[in-house]
Symmetry: C2
Subunit: 249 residues, 2 copies
């Protein structure tokens, strides 16, 4: 949303009753937020929601209009709780339809072991794009994409493999970050940070107290896309904090 620096943004939507019911620990958003940051994409929201069509549709529609890229995790298998394709179709007023390219892939992969139900995986929003990655290797299963929404499976191993196929599509200029460590508490340094925030609207300043380390009390971060600006804001913080600075990085 209103990040102080420009550049691509993303939302991550985890469709996962298994996370909400504490059956498994969330892995996909945790992976993706690091990957996107490394690519220079600013993640602005992560939502974990249940397998419910209207809730998925509403979340997808909202994220799609607010962020440059949206990634969904989960709900793309053949069982009753796999509702992402139907929900994404609904979000954009599309119909779910059997995709001939996916159907033929499933038929040839399964051979005589095919169950009718396997073909559910070929039912995607009408007009969806199939992305095969930069090498265009069509022997793999593609990433199904609707507008700016990339539909990834919930199984962590496959989630990563699919994201890696398309990751270079999202590479942008890097987000730079500097850190200043303070031996003084947040209340002591707050006025200095206020002044830097006011002087440098083009960077994002974060302040993170830590109780579990002895070396410092607060880690201050300066993020931005303009290297000179990030440096100048960091220098101003270091000057303002004076002897409170433990170190910078």
């Amino acid at each position: 949303m209103s990040l102080p620096f420009h550049g691509p943004t993303a939302g991550i939507l985890v469709i996962g009753e298994e996370i909400l019911s504490a059956k498994v620990e969330e892995q996909n958003a945790r992976y993706l937020v690091r990957e996107l940051r490394g690519l220079g994409v600013a993640v602005r929201r992560i939502d974990v929601i249940p397998d419910e069509i209207d809730e998925i549709a509403e979340a997808v529609r909202g994220m799609s209009s607010r962020y440059d890229h949206v990634f969904t995790s989960g709900g793309v298998g053949p069982t009753h709780d796999d509702l992402t394709m139907v929900a994404v179709a609904k979000a954009f007023g599309l119909r779910p339809a059997r995709n001939p390219e996916l159907e033929s892939k499933i038929r040839s992969a399964m051979g005589p072991a095919l169950h009718e139900r396997d073909l559910r995986m070929a039912d995607i929003p009408d007009g969806a794009r199939l992305l095969y990655g930069p090498d265009g290797d069509r022997s793999r299963w593609p990433v199904v994409t609707v507008r700016n929404v990339y539909l990834l499976p919930g199984v962590p191993e496959i989630f990563r493999r699919k994201f890696e196929m398309v990751r270079e599509l999202f590479r942008a200029g890097p987000i730079l970050t500097r850190a200043v460590y303070s031996r003084e508490s947040e209340a002591v340094i707050a006025a200095t940070l206020d002044a830097v925030v006011a002087e440098f609207p083009g960077v994002a300043v974060g302040s993170y107290p830590r109780l579990d380390v002895a070396e410092y009390k607060v880690k201050i971060t300066v993020d931005g896309r303009d290297a000179a600006l990030v440096e100048r804001a960091t220098t101003r913080i270091v000057e303002g904090l004076g002897s409170a600075v433990v170190r910078t990085e």
Copy 2:
């Protein structure tokens, strides 16, 4: 939302630019979702959002109206990026106001080391309640609560300590869960699951494929609050799957 079984629900709102920018791994929602599940509270949504007043206010308002309990994490310190109190006040049309009880706590804790800025921590939504836990020990810092929204700090150690103070407020009848492990794939067992979902609207049936274990292909879960119903639905799945069942638990 439309969980098939009744009982208290919760939403978790993590206010944390540091999570979105991949600087630290999320810990508080991960902890709380397990705690709430153990208490019998069904978490229906987890959102991770930036330190922005309007976005926090909108999320708090939405969750407060949809779930029985809402927990926020983060944004309650004294620096420029600590906006949760102001945002929660805005969500409910309240004014932020200096709370005398919190102010006096801060003054006596800090003594001559007090910085004016420390007193920011006493600025909370007008009309908020201060919860001290079941023993009523008022020497601690209370959990600030507005309507059904419990405002917890982002530092993980303090987040846990504060939640433990109030956790017994949320105890409800347990959510029961059974699991059936299938050696057959989701496509093979999907029709059986459909039939059980249709026959037992009072339980939640989940289907989770696993690639990283050799023992089984799919874990099926049956959740509910009615023990007899959970047992009957589980038995029906076991009967329907026949020789595909590896084991149950």
